[in-house]
Symmetry: C2
């Protein structure tokens, strides 16, 4: 497989969240020659939605996704309605930003619940409720299956096949975000990526799984520092027809979040060429 | 569903490993009225295999499993051969103990490897190599799929369906151990348990998934303290025809391992009746 151009690289701003504002991240991505950026909503709000959209456009960056919508399950109807209302705002923001997709993290179990099937039903109902808004706004919804270790507290959608079953049930306008960190272990990964196909793979996220992993949430690795065969998975998504960017998203409280973001981005570029 | 009798409860000795020898665990299980025990090989070696077998038999306890075989992947042929030789010894030990099964934890990636498909092939090859020995000894092999968060460093068999695919390929003499901790998140769990059926469900392990979980390995919860609907999963395995014991296995460096094992077993009994 060909070494990827840096213009295929996108920076999820979570990777530099501790030391760069969104304005700095936009400027940094452009200066380093990256092709895209994926901002988080809190950072967008901080800079102002219109200003963020203008700066990203002026920098010539694609918006590979807006992070994030979802989090649908709640203990009562009011909580579920509040989540749906917040997702509608996120759709509007994604439209203004021209985002390739709104990333949906399903949400975990409501407090005190042991009913994962019930939570999963709430996710399907929640996406169904916002889908007309998304279609009207021209915003694609990307269900991101998260690693099963987040099933309880973050996302009860845990495999690509499960996300695709939801897509099948919901119809056009919903696809998936394929993140190597969340999916690399899946014995059915190759088949599931082929099943997804070009139209439904809306984003491709990269980082690495460290051995040992010392924290369930904040110990992701830089590409090449772990055990994931990222290039092989890129091969699978490209064989399925995906032509979009490769979005690096590293949650790393103990290491990468502490470093100079310019160094982090420079290393992302090197590793992207070397192992992705 | 009926409240389970304490005679249906088995103690995996890992639950009390820091404060009880195997001899103490055998005596404790009998005194508390449990129906079984599942020892680890290091504890068996410490007491002596014949002595362990005699004491367990005299205590009237079933051996719901011997922990553990497996760990097949290795960087070179010598390493793989050593694993197979060690598994053959484990089969002999399981036969002497009259264990219901030898629990197989697949093993993770060899050092430096990113080839999870290759590791998975080594697991299949390894089990195939020891299966004639297991059949000859009358020892059932129980593949235990571990949670996907252990795919890199402990077990590259991560779903019940993946384990059952291995069983299908290997033929009679191989089944599965269903552990609620490793499988509760699986969107396909109900179908996979039904697929396994009575003959292939060789063990049923219980504990709970805590929120938050602060360590990937050593922060399992007592039944009832987490988010797993254990009784519902017991219902699935019993609907599939499983009539065996419920083996409690809690790795908990920060909590249960520090407590008086008599207190731990007493709470296991209470929770077994209350939520399992």
């Amino acid at each position: 497989m060909a070494v990827p151009e840096t213009s295929r690289l996108s920076l999820n701003t979570a990777t530099v969240r501790e030391r760069w504002t969104l304005a700095q991240a936009i400027e940094g991505c452009a200066r380093h020659g990256l092709g895209g950026i994926s901002p988080w909503r809190d950072k967008v709000a901080e800079l102002g939605l219109g200003e963020a959209a203008r700066r990203i456009r002026d920098a010539g960056l694609a918006v590979t996704g807006l992070c994030r919508g979802g989090l649908f399950p709640a203990s009562d109807a009011a909580g579920r309605a509040a989540a749906i209302a917040d997702n509608r705002r996120a759709i509007e923001e994604a439209a203004v930003l021209g985002a390739r997709c709104l990333v949906l993290v399903a949400g975990g179990l409501p407090a005190g619940s042991r009913d994962i099937a019930g939570a999963r039903a709430m996710v399907g109902d929640g996406i169904a409720a916002i889908l007309p808004d998304a279609r009207a706004a021209g915003v694609a919804l990307a269900i991101e299956p998260l690693h099963p270790m987040y099933a309880a507290d973050r996302a009860c959608v845990n495999t690509l096949d499960q996300a695709l079953d939801l897509c099948d049930a919901l119809g056009p306008g919903v696809g998936v975000a394929v993140d190597v960190y969340h999916t690399w272990w899946d014995p059915n990964l190759a088949r599931a990526i082929a099943r997804a196909g070009a139209e439904r793979i809306l984003a491709f996220h990269i980082c690495d799984w460290l051995v040992p992993t010392t924290d369930l949430l904040l110990d992701r690795g830089m590409m090449g520092d772990g055990v994931i065969d990222i290039r092989a998975i890129r091969g699978l998504v490209e064989a399925a027809g995906y032509t979009g960017l490769h979005e690096v998203e590293i949650f790393s409280a103990g290491n990468w979040w502490k470093r100079d973001p310019d160094e982090v981005v420079a290393i992302c570029k090197e590793r992207h060429r070397a192992v992705c």
